[in-house]
Amino acid sequence: MSPWYEKSAFEIREAVASGAVSARAVTESFLARIDAVDAQVGAYTQVWRDEALAQADAVDAKIAAGEPVGALAGVPISLKELICTQAGETTCSSKILAGFQSPYDATVTQKLLADDAVVLGKVNMDEFAMGSSTENSAVQKTANPWDLSRVPGGSSGGSAASVASATSAISFGSDTGGSIRQPAAFCGCVGLKPTYGRVSRYGLVAFASSLDQIGPLTRDVRDAALAMNVISGKDPRDATSADLPAEDFTKKLGASIAGLKIGLPKEYFVDALGSEVRTLVEKATKVLEEQGAEIVEVSLPHTEYAVSVYYIVAPAEASANLARFDGVRYGFRHPDAKNVTEMYVKSKSEGFGEEVQRRIMLGTYVLSSGYYDAYYLKAQKVRTLITRDFDEAFKACDIILTPTTPSTAFAMGEKSSDPLEMYLNDIFTISANLAGIPGISLPCGKSASGLPVGFQLLSKAFDEATLLQTAYCYEQHGGNDLGLPALS
């Protein structure tokens, strides 16, 4: 029998709940896997060995006592460094939060614990989620498990690398402009960004509050649906969370997609798209067509403006959000400050890394007097146009299909010297955040050099069920189980 760390969350939960295996044995299997491969991958920034085993024992005790267990009973998971946990540290992979212990659990953390998930630890990310390669982490490097000289993507690079290298069954990341979907594509796993408002942001350290969402990275589509069942819902602590009835996101898995209309936006199949990626995405489209979907061409005419809008709106919001790291209530305080102003300046300048400072500068500039209308207001108006594009397109189709990224995972250091080039890597994922709609990336094969390729499905707001139905249909019929990367 294959080891437990190779199993899906669904299989693990079934086996644990039925008593076929103990949560402890499953947890030990994953901890041993971390010991075996994570020194090479570098996904984990913290491993909570004793706490994880204690959580597993608590699940086993419930089962022994005949008590009901949660929807993720005994499933070993990892959390991105910016999801608040009372246990361990919440560093956002930044020097400014080194050693920070959150005084509370994020709502997502509370929900996962209440449903008996076992938290193995925290995983690496670009500092404050700003980046597309995890190279901006102030803590450590994370490698792509399929080729250790390449980046895992970002900003949830630790999450994707962990799921791809089977050191957690599910990892929870966050997506502001593609930070779940892009690393999922680079590492060959499934990554879902829910509709804005679907999942509470309480306890998610804020980057850009009108764009951020927490979501799962998983080995398969069903696990993503299971995870969504646990983390979704209205939260009185997040006024922007949507007040909708609880939904079972697995309900449409396996349902036929005959007659479903899938739109291909012509603006996404452009020259910037690498030919290997294009070929595999077209193959995936064929698979869905063979399953009865009707493929239609749609247009999202403002696509070429999305990167500009995003890199005005997101840094503007970030510059306001990150002003809280002032060395007073938490985080790093520079020891040499003689007065309060000096304390602010020295703490921020020493505590924030280069990319974070660049975005604070950009955001401050576009919000500053004299430039607000030219940049920030203009960007918000174009954001309206981008959202209207989707409203129009969804009149002609139920699902939009696109590549997730223009290329496969790039080499470490390849793009880190040119910020604009790095930003353009987000070209296919950003629009969904601006419009607030959900998106999922799933693997559709490997390049000639053995690197995973992902494609993206988008749906109307709050239609994750159809998104998952379509993704599941592809997964069942696409024949693209990538297996595990060769790590010794």
Partner: protein, 102 residues
């Protein structure tokens, strides 16, 4: 749109409470100009009649009952502070001995 100069970078750094040395200022002049040049693309669009979008969801006011609920215990709230006493966050001197602002 306009071109970023060294003094613009210094001015924005002041607003953002960041300390930029010579090398960082030089680098940011180049980087911000290249990024803002790219963004000038937005000027191709006539948006005079378009409403700005502030948020992904069209929410106005979200009301709730004003009820007393447990909040963060003081010792937990103070736990992460670099310097604190039993009750307060402690910071360096705000006013100097002559009574002027720091």
């Amino acid at each position: 749109m306009s071109t970023i100069t060294r003094s613009d970078v210094a001015y924005v750094a002041g607003l953002a409470q960041l300390d930029m040395d010579e090398a960082a200022t030089e680098r940011l002049v180049d980087e911000m100009n290249s990024i803002l040049d790219y963004m000038a693309k937005l000027n191709e669009l006539d948006t005079d009649a378009v409403e700005p979008m502030m948020h992904a969801m069209a929410l106005t006011n979200v009301f709730r009952e004003d009820e007393v609920a447990p909040s963060l215990p003081r010792e937990l709230a103070l736990r992460g502070a670099p310097v604190h006493d039993e009750e307060y966050f402690m910071v360096p001197k705000i006013l100097d001995a002559e009574g002027g602002g720091a």
